[in-house]
């Protein structure tokens, strides 16, 4: 296992370089869904863009759609899945072998979907995804996504995890460590009162 740090802001600001714009490719763009209210509150702008270092736009889109089927959170915004694509793109930029694995993997997705994976119906996509489980391509995307998808502040906000307590108000002693109300409180013997509360 290794750390794949992903931070808020990696995608939030569409900062498109002139070069990428002129190339007209290598860019993954999107707009936060209207339903993604917690993310809209966090992001400086509803539009996001990912400037690709190695993969082309079609491959990046296909990989994003592939991630959506491996970890199918229907209500989770594309912007968070794009953070996985960012990791994959960076890995492809560092290693020709990884780039080949990913581009050939995408070609395989398109073939299996009868031409255009990204445009295929969800049922078709799920069947294709299942058929690829265990392949090196699947494992690379799954292994990257299982870290990158859930290790960023957008995901924390979406799933309701409060993340870095030290930075965000300190310990939960005075802010809800025992605020659960739908079950009776334990006895004082089982759970003594907190010191200083």
């Amino acid at each position: 296992m290794s750390e794949h740090p992903v931070s808020l802001g990696a995608l939030a600001q569409p900062r498109v370089s002139r070069r990428a714009f002129l190339k007209g490719s290598g860019l993954l763009v999107g707009t936060l869904w209207a339903s993604s209210s917690v993310l809209l509150a966090l992001a400086p702008s509803p539009s996001w863009a990912l400037e690709l270092k190695s993969l082309d736009q079609a491959s990046a889109t296909a990989l994003l759609q592939f991630c959506r089927r491996i970890f199918p959170h229907d209500k989770l915004d594309d912007a968070v899945y794009a953070l996985v694509v960012k990791e994959l793109d960076e890995a492809a930029a560092k290693s020709a072998e990884t780039r080949t694995l990913l581009t050939e993997g995408v070609a395989g997705l398109n073939r299996a979907a009868g031409g255009n994976w990204a445009a295929a119906l969800v049922e078709k996509k799920d069947a294709v995804t299942a058929s690829l489980a265990g392949t090196p391509f699947f494992r690379k995307v799954q292994g990257t996504a299982v870290v990158a998808l859930y290790n960023n502040e957008l995901a924390f906000a979406h799933f309701g995890y409060e993340g870095n307590a030290f930075q965000h108000g300190g310990g939960y002693l005075m802010r809800g460590f025992n605020d659960l109300k739908w079950l009776p409180n334990p006895t004082v013997q089982a759970s003594p009162a907190a010191f200083g509360v």
């Binding site: 296992m1 290794s2 750390e3 794949h4 740090p5 491996i70 970890f71 199918p72 959170h73 209500k75 299942a130 489980a133 799954q142 299982v146 870290v147 998808l149 859930y150 290790n151 995901a155 924390f156 799933f159 309701g160 995890y161 409060e162 993340g163 870095n164 307590a165 030290f166 930075q167 300190g170 310990g171 939960y172 002693l173 809800g176 460590f177 025992n178 605020d179 659960l180 739908w182 079950l183 009776p184 409180n185 334990p186 013997q189 089982a190 759970s191 003594p192 009162a193 907190a194 010191f195 200083g196 509360v197």
Partner: protein
């Protein structure tokens, strides 16, 4: 700053600064002994600890290459991460959860009480609970264990409330347990603020760690020299078979030789036997102190597993102490359950990033996504029970793979014993019942994480032929060589191991100081 010369052969060299090594260093220094403490990792502090699971993992974990073999699932999911233990000053006491339980009396007599179990290499400890009790008491006082020494228990968090109610409904009793986490300020350390990042290094120092207790106390005596970033490659000996010192790579990667009067190894149950095996010589061809052939064998990791359950309403299990609640109703011996030994249930939570990594390693699809979607409504517990020592579960030196120092990497081989499987099954069933009793929507039986409890690879025995060390942790073969960590464990017992490791270290320090005074060492 105290500093000793490399050729000063009057010092005790301790390798590793965790529960065993860090405690031993302080206890020896308090008795006037000069100590060089070698730690492979770097020194962090409560100021540098990070409330971020992956970042803290990188900061604290022993990430040098290791390999795995055997049928345990860890070998498939985390082939290069058999253990989740630390490489930092304070060792795994930076990362541990704090549960501090004494052994039960019968657990020191596993062979006699459990009988001869096929495939298990059971042996009685050459120790009794009675002999250890005064040292347990000192360890509990030193560590500030709640519910001992008139220290109140910790307050239970939301995860505990679910656990408590479920436990009560199925006839168990649950309380916050004996934890080495300050429930009130004590020994110049603050009380727990319920951050929920116990595994990432405690930001208030409420949780006991040798990093900010034993080690600074030892430094204050003026007798400790801590050398961080120092990786020991081998232990050397003279023609008579006495240890003379250690060879290590210092923080700059330069090879150094430190002479010693006594050498104590506390590198955790993977590195400790690895070091003895790497120290093989013409006189000790099978590895240092390995005339029994038991060095590296009988590797134990506790029978573990986790159970997480999702509910209709929020839990926010990650708020507050990572562990604290305990059910001990299955900790006793009752072979009618279909296994020997017992297990504890202890509350546990993971943050969102680690939940994704450990819920079902390699998992994906709708079921996985659904579990993650319900993260806020999730409660969790950890199973920890006695696993059987087996000769074939062992640490060996890899034939070809080398680490950054050119030293052979350790391979960790583990197969579950049928007793382990029966116990885990029972524990999963009981835990499921516990959560269903309070309305769980869905229950997840989660496989063991990379090992946090690593034990038994230089086991204690009264007889040199079937164990590596005597009742003081002194190797049978090399009188001035000691094992000072969980490697000494003869059998694993049910309880989380740190308290007993600290207890043994306090007792060992007394023995070493006494022997040095009488010139027996």
């Amino acid at each position: 700053m105290t500093s000793y010369k490399h050729d000063d052969n009057s010092v005790v060299v301790i390798i590793g600064s965790g529960a065993g090594g860090g405690t031993l260093a302080n206890e020896l220094c308090q008795q006037g002994v000069k100590v060089v403490l070698l730690e492979a990792g770097k020194r962090q502090s409560i100021g540098t600890f990070i409330n971020d699971e992956w970042a803290a993992f990188s900061q604290l974990t022993w990430n040098d290459k290791r390999t795995t073999s055997g049928s345990w699932r860890v070998a498939r999911d985390f082939p290069n991460l058999p253990a989740w233990i630390c490489k930092t000053v304070g060792g795994t006491t930076t990362h541990w959860a704090g549960a501090s339980l004494r052994f039960q009396e019968h657990e020191f007599r596993a062979r006699s009480v459990y009988g001869g179990l096929a495939g298990a290499n059971l042996l009685d400890w050459p120790l009794t609970l009675q002999e250890l009790e005064p040292y347990y008491a000192r360890a509990e006082d030193k560590m500030g264990v709640t519910r001992t020494n008139d220290i109140p228990g910790l307050p239970g968090n939301n995860n505990f409330k679910v656990f408590y109610n479920g436990a009560t409904k199925i006839g168990y009793g649950a309380t916050t347990g004996r934890m080495a986490i300050n429930s009130q300020p004590r020994a110049n350390r603050a009380s727990c603020q319920q951050f929920g990042f116990c595994f990432q290094g405690c930001k208030t120092g409420a949780k006991w760690s040798t990093l900010y207790t034993e080690i600074p106390a030892a430094e204050e005596t003026g007798r400790l020299e801590l050398r961080e970033g120092c990786h020991v490659a081998r232990i050397e000996h003279d023609a008579a078979g006495k240890a003379t010192g250690v060879v290590y790579f210092d923080a700059n990667g330069k090879e150094q030789r430190q002479k010693a009067r006594v050498v104590c190894v506390a590198g955790n149950a993977i590195e400790t036997p690895r070091l003895l095996l790497m120290s093989a010589s013409a006189k000790f061809p099978d590895g240092l102190a390995n005339s029994s052939g038991q060095v590296g064998r009988n590797y134990m990791r506790h029978t573990t597993g986790s159970v997480y359950a999702t509910f209709e309403q929020p839990v926010h299990m990650y708020r507050g102490t990572t562990m604290a609640g305990i059910v001990q109703d299955e900790a006793h011996l009752d072979t009618k359950r279909g296994f020997v030994g017992g297990y504890e249930l202890e509350t546990l939570s993971l943050g969102l990033p680690f939940m994704a990594a450990f819920l079902d390693p390699g998992g994906w699809g709708k079921g996985f996504a659904e579990a993650m979607d319900n993260y806020v409504n999730m409660a969790g517990l950890w199973i920890v029970g006695e696993d059987m020592p087996q000769e074939s579960n062992r640490i060996t030196l890899h034939a070809t793979e080398k680490d950054q120092w050119g030293l052979p990497v350790p391979d960790v081989h583990y197969d579950d014993h049928p007793n382990d499987i029966a116990m885990r099954k029972h524990a999963y069933r009981q835990s499921t019942a516990l959560y269903e009793a309070v309305g769980a929507k869905k229950v997840y039986e989660v496989p063991p994480y990379p090992s946090t409890h690593n034990l038994g690879t230089c086991r204690m025995s009264a007889r040199p032929r079937d164990g590596v060390v005597n009742k003081w942790g002194q190797t049978h073969d090399v009188p001035n060589l000691f094992i000072s960590d969980g490697s000494q464990y003869t059998t694993g017992a049910t309880e989380n191991p740190t308290l007993t490791i600290v207890t043994l270290a306090i007792r060992q320090a007394e023995y070493i100081a006494r022997q040095m005074k009488s010139r027996s060492l």
